[in-house]
């Protein structure tokens, strides 16, 4: 998987290239927006990791140029700024994801995988969290290498939770996915399916737990002893 890595610090570039290689990515590294534009013109990349504070040009104007040209390559923006006033601007400018420095290498790799899944299904169709996996094509749940089949709606709930992997999935998301725009949603309809999924997972020996964040949504986390 070819990644274009645009970052002005050479030291960080070398470290990131090594970290991405361990995550299964082959990274081309450039220092400036001009070099990045040149690389994008000559080579097709699966994903771009772009530092928005480049010496020759703001990384965000490179991103804007890409989008204006109709280049849909997924872009993950790295920023050291992450200030009160400029956190959201990069997403509005067409970035697909956003990470504030400093970040964990695993998280960068995980986010790049998520981006690729989202954009083109280029990476496997398997979502994994803890010892639970879901084959999004075959709709099969794999727990500790045992394949199981859950009812459709419980599987849909599981898919949403796995896609958010460790972060809160808002309740709204479940309602839209489970019942669409037409269906009328009972006040505790989502809770019912989450409850059933909890039981199914526990019975199957999953080491993940679904936590309710009342008023906001649900969160899947690895269960530490119990």
């Amino acid at each position: 998987m070819r990644v274009l890595l645009v970052e002005d610090s050479n030291e960080l570039l070398a470290l990131l290239k090594r970290g991405l290689a361990a995550g299964g990515f082959d990274a081309d590294t450039v220092n400036t927006a001009a070099d990045a534009a040149h690389a994008l013109a000559t080579m097709r990349y699966a994903v771009v990791v772009l530092d928005c504070g480049l010496p020759d040009d703001d990384g965000l104007s490179l991103l804007r140029d890409m989008r204006r040209r109709g280049d849909r390559t997924p872009v993950l923006v790295l920023t050291a700024r992450d200030g009160v006033s400029d956190r959201v601007t990069s997403l509005r400018d067409g970035a697909d994801d956003y990470m504030a420095k400093p970040f964990a290498m695993e998280e960068l790799v995980a986010r790049l995988h998520a981006l690729l899944r989202r954009s083109d299904n280029m990476l496997g169709r398997r979502l994994t969290f803890g010892n639970v996996a879901l084959d999004t094509e075959g709709r099969q749940v794999i727990i500790d290498d045992t394949v199981r089949t859950f009812p459709a709606r419980e599987t849909a709930v599981l898919e949403i939770l796995l896609r958010r992997g460790g972060n809160v999935a808002p309740k709204r998301l479940f309602e839209d996915h489970l019942f669409g725009l037409s269906g009328k949603v009972g006040s505790n309809a989502v809770e019912v399916y989450v409850h059933r999924l909890r039981r199914l997972l526990a019975d199957a020996g999953a080491n993940v737990k679904i936590h309710t964040v009342r008023g906001v949504g649900y969160l899947m986390a690895e269960d530490k002893g119990g």
């Binding site: 610090s9 030291e11 960080l12 470290l15 990131l16 090594r18 970290g19 504070g53 050291a80 700024r81 992450d82 200030g83 009160v84 006033s85 956190r87 959201v88 504030a100 420095k101 400093p102 970040f103 964990a104 290498m105 695993e106 460790g166 972060n167 809160v168 808002p170 936590h211 964040v213 009342r214 008023g215 906001v216 949504g217 969160l219 986390a221």
Partner: protein
């Protein structure tokens, strides 16, 4: 000049005084001039009469003189109804002829000596106006006196003068008033660019430092002031920008090495050393982030029209912090309003405030405890925990920077509540803390409600 602060009112006040003075002085001056003209007309008429009378003086062979007035002119000089009175005196002042029934002179020599004309107010109230002309007939010099009673019905010149005030003089006042109104209109027009600049200036705030006053149509008297103000704004904006650039540069300079260290640690072999280093670096990163937030909030201002949905902000903050709460076996929930709660404010700044409150609550809630975030319709967020609460003596100081209950414990979390306090301050809001009846702490962030948008946004 504290009573008249505006230029227009000063001009109007001075103008009103000028109008008052002019409306008194101008009629007086006009009256005096007309009177002068009337008097001079009178005098010419009377001098003519005097010549006529003098023409009727005929020298007699005995050396004396006779007055021979044609019969058809006599009614003109008859005592009761005649228009004129006359008297002829010789050089010694003896009266030779007089139209008066008592045969006296019209004026005493003293009166007549002061000039060739005389004006006398009579005891009846009427005014006697006369001339005194010397004329030689034969070898002798005679004085001819002619007088006219101005109250006589056939004398109209002085009637014109006396009717001038009531009939004509009043017109000066309305004319001056109209002039005043026109002046005010002219003045307002001339000051329009200044008014426009004031409106623009009123919109200049820390959130919009790039606005400048229009200099194009400014009157030349005021243009230097406006130009100087704009230059001052340039300097202010440069100051703001320098502060912001500094914060952004500082963020880059601090976070880039942290990222490099983090990447190096991540490439180490798994083990207790790597975990310890990661934990230390995360603490360090947290402090750096908070210091950067505080630095940015120092020069941060909320735009006057900025509005944010407090419910969405709290939902995001709760979702953001939920993994941490769950990792520490604590439950977290959002309650209160179910509809958007619009407040005046900056979404990201408010998010950071609520996030810091939630983070603080998670830290103080016991294992197995719970954190509750409540949003109410009036723009108030309550963050409740079931920890030990905040002692009364500490309630003011916990919002200070780097405040720690125990100076020996350095967990590097001393800025979170200071950030909340600063965000509250920039939003004209407030942050207070109380203890719940059940014992935990209740932080209350109050913001200013904003009207909901009518159109969906």
């Amino acid at each position: 000049m504290t009573r008249f602060r505006s230029i227009t009112s000063r001009v109007v006040a001075l103008h009103v005084a000028a109008v008052g003075l002019t409306s008194i002085l101008m009629p007086l001056a006009l009256y005096w001039l007309i009177n002068q003209a009337a008097n001079s007309l009178h005098r010419d008429a009377l001098l003519g009469q005097a010549s006529t009378i003098a023409g009727f003086l005929r020298p007699q062979p005995d050396g004396r003189v006779a007055l021979d007035i044609p019969a058809e002119l006599l009614p003109l000089y008859s005592g009761g109804s005649g228009l004129y009175a006359y008297a002829v005196l010789d050089a010694t002042g003896r009266v030779l002829f007089s139209s008066r029934s008592d045969g006296a002179a019209l004026f005493t020599p003293k009166e007549a000596g002061s000039g060739d004309w005389v004006k006398r107010r009579r005891s009846t109230g009427s005014v006697l106006f006369g001339v005194n002309v010397a004329r030689a007939v034969g070898q002798h010099l005679y004085r001819v006196q002619i007088a006219q009673d101005l109250s006589h019905s056939d004398v109209i010149i002085d009637d014109i003068v006396s009717s001038f005030f009531p009939r004509v003089a009043w017109i000066t006042f309305p004319i001056l008033l109209i002039l005043l109104l026109i002046d005010i209109l002219i003045f307002r027009r001339a000051l329009d660019p200044v008014r426009e600049a004031s409106t623009t200036a009123a919109a200049i705030g820390p959130a919009s430092p790039q606005v400048r006053l229009p200099e194009a149509n400014m009157p030349t008297e005021i243009a230097p002031l406006v130009h100087a103000v704009n230059q001052a704004l340039d300097r202010l904006e440069a100051g703001f920008r320098a502060q912001r650039d500094f914060t952004a540069d500082m963020a880059h300079e601090l976070r880039t090495p942290l990222t490099i260290i983090r990447a190096r640690i991540d490439s180490l072999e798994p083990g207790s050393l790597r975990d310890a280093l990661r934990s230390d670096l995360e603490n360090m990163t947290h402090i750096v982030n908070q210091v950067l937030d505080i630095a940015e909030l120092e020069s941060f201002f909320v735009a006057a029209d900025a509005r944010a949905d407090l419910l969405a902000i709290c939902a995001e903050a709760v979702a953001f912090m939920a993994p941490l709460a769950v990792a520490q076996s604590k439950t977290i929930a959002l309650g209160g309003s179910e509809a958007p709660v619009w407040v005046r404010g900056h979404t990201e700044a408010l998010f950071r405030a609520v996030r810091n409150l939630v983070e603080n609550a998670i830290r103080h809630a016991p294992t197995g405890g719970s954190i509750e975030v409540e949003v109410s319709e009036d723009g108030v967020v309550r963050v409740l925990d079931d920890g030990p609460g905040v002692p009364e003596a500490e309630r003011a100081s916990i919002f200070r920077r780097f405040w720690r209950r125990d100076r020996t414990q350095s967990d590097g979390r001393g800025l979170g509540l200071a950030i909340v306090a600063r965000v509250a301050e920039t939003h004209d809001g407030s942050i207070t803390v109380d203890n719940r009846p059940t014992g935990g702490a209740a932080f209350v962030l109050r913001l200013r409600p904003a009207p909901a948008l009518t159109a969906a946004n």
